[in-house]
């Protein structure tokens, strides 16, 4: 059976087309102010890659903060359910799943069957969300990917104290003025957001394996900061973590509606 999952997020809309549990097509478009247009864009990209016509899809399931703005969807599921399903599909050992979105951070505790048993959300403060990383990279004058690479080369721990994205921006500029190497500042930035994300995770408890999904999980710098902060042996992330929740939605679509 071919299904599609559409994750309409605050920044990007991600679509995954799956056939019997395997990903056969993916698409991504910036949500911007036109969620419906982004849904069409990302769905068309994914269909093209999969070589499947729109009519060939059995069911479409939407998730994400804009899930009610996806007219093509047959059903929708909460972000919590989608992220749990997605992460458990990649890593059946997952017991704690964290999704760092552009404007939200969520942590879910899973039971042995991959069912969510508890969750915590931060959608009030940018300090634990993806926009924080982008704003800091901008303050540092480099790209997000470069910042991730640089952070791994840091040789010294520099502590940033600001708990707020706006204040942290000034702090980063202060560190630049004090001639701290960009590598050390990059690591300090990831340590800073890792502390905030760990705060959300602790509300549901830390149980290995810990899986991180969402765009920021692409950064090895964030994974290593989070591993240190949580004091766990490793933090896992799928190869294309942006699509984690979309995969979960596509899997939900494959289940027969009750």
């Amino acid at each position: 059976m071919i299904t599609a999952g559409i994750d309409c997020g605050a920044m990007n809309t991600k679509t995954v087309v799956m056939k019997d549990g395997t990903i056969i097509g993916k698409g991504l478009a910036p949500t911007g102010f036109d969620a419906a247009g982004a849904v069409e864009d990302s769905l068309n990209q994914a269909l093209l890659q999969a070589g499947v016509a729109r009519a060939g899809i059995r069911r479409i399931c939407a998730t994400g903060s804009g899930r009610n703005a996806v007219p093509v969807a047959d059903e929708s599921v909460s972000e919590i359910k989608a992220m749990a399903r997605g992460a458990f599909c990649f890593f059946p050992g997952a017991r704690t799943v964290v999704d760092v979105g552009a404007e939200e951070g969520r942590a879910v505790k899973l039971d042995d069957h991959g069912r969510p048993v508890d969750f915590a959300v931060n959608d009030r403060c940018a300090a634990g969300a993806g926009v924080f990383i982008e704003a800091m990279a901008r303050a540092l004058g480099i790209g997000v990917e470069e910042m991730g690479r640089l952070s791994l080369r840091s040789e010294r721990e520099v502590r940033m104290n600001a708990p707020c994205a706006i204040f942290a921006e000034s702090e980063v500029i202060g560190l630049i003025h004090s001639n701290i190497p960009a590598a050390d500042i990059s690591r300090a930035i990831y340590d800073c957001i890792a502390r905030r994300i760990a705060g959300i995770i602790r509300r549901v408890g830390i149980h290995e394996e810990v899986v991180l999904i969402g765009g920021p999980a692409r950064s090895a710098g964030l994974l290593s900061s989070l591993r240190r902060e949580l004091k766990v042996t490793q933090v896992l992330a799928p190869a294309e973590p942006d699509f984690g929740a979309a995969v979960g939605a596509a899997l939900c679509a494959a289940e027969e509606p009750r």
């Binding site: 009030r124 940018a126 708990p163 204040f167 500029i173 003025h177």
Partner: protein
């Protein structure tokens, strides 16, 4: 083709001032209060407990340099050599980095003492809205701190948040207060996001939906007033309400806040940004009297 010059909307006017009649040569004790805040720094010179002059400017990247520049700015206005200063007290966020201070006093104590001086002895509640924090202080008839609450963890409700909005909307920060009352139609509801970063995205969305800049300013000023009110309510308001700090000059926020509180704020002829440094200079004066 020339690049259009970018207007820096967060910029406010730096100033110095001297008392037209007071003469430093006649004074017994000259004391200096230095308040190094996250956004602005002030130096207040006092002659026997009366303000002789002051300097008020933007904090640079190094606290020590900012302290020195503020002092030089104040000395320039008063036309007095630095050696004449008998005692210097440092306060504010960067107080440990004032190299020439004799001692430091917390900004909470200084703001209460300074507000008592600038607004008169009827002051019982002092709200200081600074660049990176909000403090609400209850004090007694002598200007001594009874209790206080503070938010220094989050930019929502602080001067820095307002600077971000002034820049976003391209409205000079000194005009924000007045223009926030020039909204079209009924007064808009407050911006719903607490976080300044999210409020910014929300504001961009509102502009795209056709809101005027004044409408957005009104909605943000209201959100700031709500945020500050939550802190003020927690500590409890006593009549004799004084507002200090840079944001005291923004009536868009403070008028809306006072409406919620149901009181009139106290008036002062002084610059509200110098309260902390004035308090510090007064502590210096008390110290001189004790050790004479």
């Amino acid at each position: 083709m020339r690049e259009p010059k970018k207007i820096e909307c967060w910029r406010w006017t730096e100033s110095n001032w001297r008392h037209p009649a007071l003469e430093w040569r006649a004074a017994r004790f000259i004391t200096l209060g230095i308040d190094v805040g996250s956004v602005s720094s002030q130096a207040v010179l006092m002659a026997d407990g009366q303000i002789l002059g002051y300097g008020n400017l933007r904090t640079g990247s190094a606290s020590a340099d900012s302290a020195r520049q503020a002092l030089a700015f104040a000395l320039e206005a008063v036309d007095m050599p630095e050696s004449r200063v008998d005692c210097c007290i440092g306060t504010g966020y960067g107080r440990v980095n004032v190299p020439f201070s004799d001692r430091t006093v917390s900004e909470i104590a200084c703001h209460a003492r300074g507000a008592h001086f600038l607004f008169g002895p009827e002051v019982r509640t002092v709200l200081d809205v600074g660049g990176q924090d909000i403090k609400c202080i209850r004090c007694d008839e002598k200007g001594k701190v009874v209790n206080f609450l503070m938010n220094d963890k989050c930019a929502a409700g602080t001067g820095r948040g307002m600077e971000v909005f002034a820049d976003l909307l391209g409205v000079p920060i000194t005009e924000v207060g007045d223009r926030s009352f020039e909204f079209t139609g009924a007064e808009p509801a407050a911006v719903s996001s607490t976080c300044v970063v999210f409020a910014k995205s929300e504001a961009i969305g509102l502009l795209r939906r056709g809101w005027s800049r004044e409408d957005v300013l009104a909605a943000y000023c209201k959100a700031m007033a709500d945020r500050i009110f939550a802190l003020v309510k927690r500590i409890g308001v006593q009549p004799g309400f004084a507002v200090t700090g840079g944001l005291a000059k923004n009536r868009g926020v403070i008028d809306r806040l006072m409406l919620k509180i149901g009181l009139e704020r106290m008036g002062t002829p002084w610059d509200t940004q110098i309260a902390g440094a004035a308090g510090a200079a007064l502590f210096g004066h008390a110290f001189c009297l004790k050790n004479q």
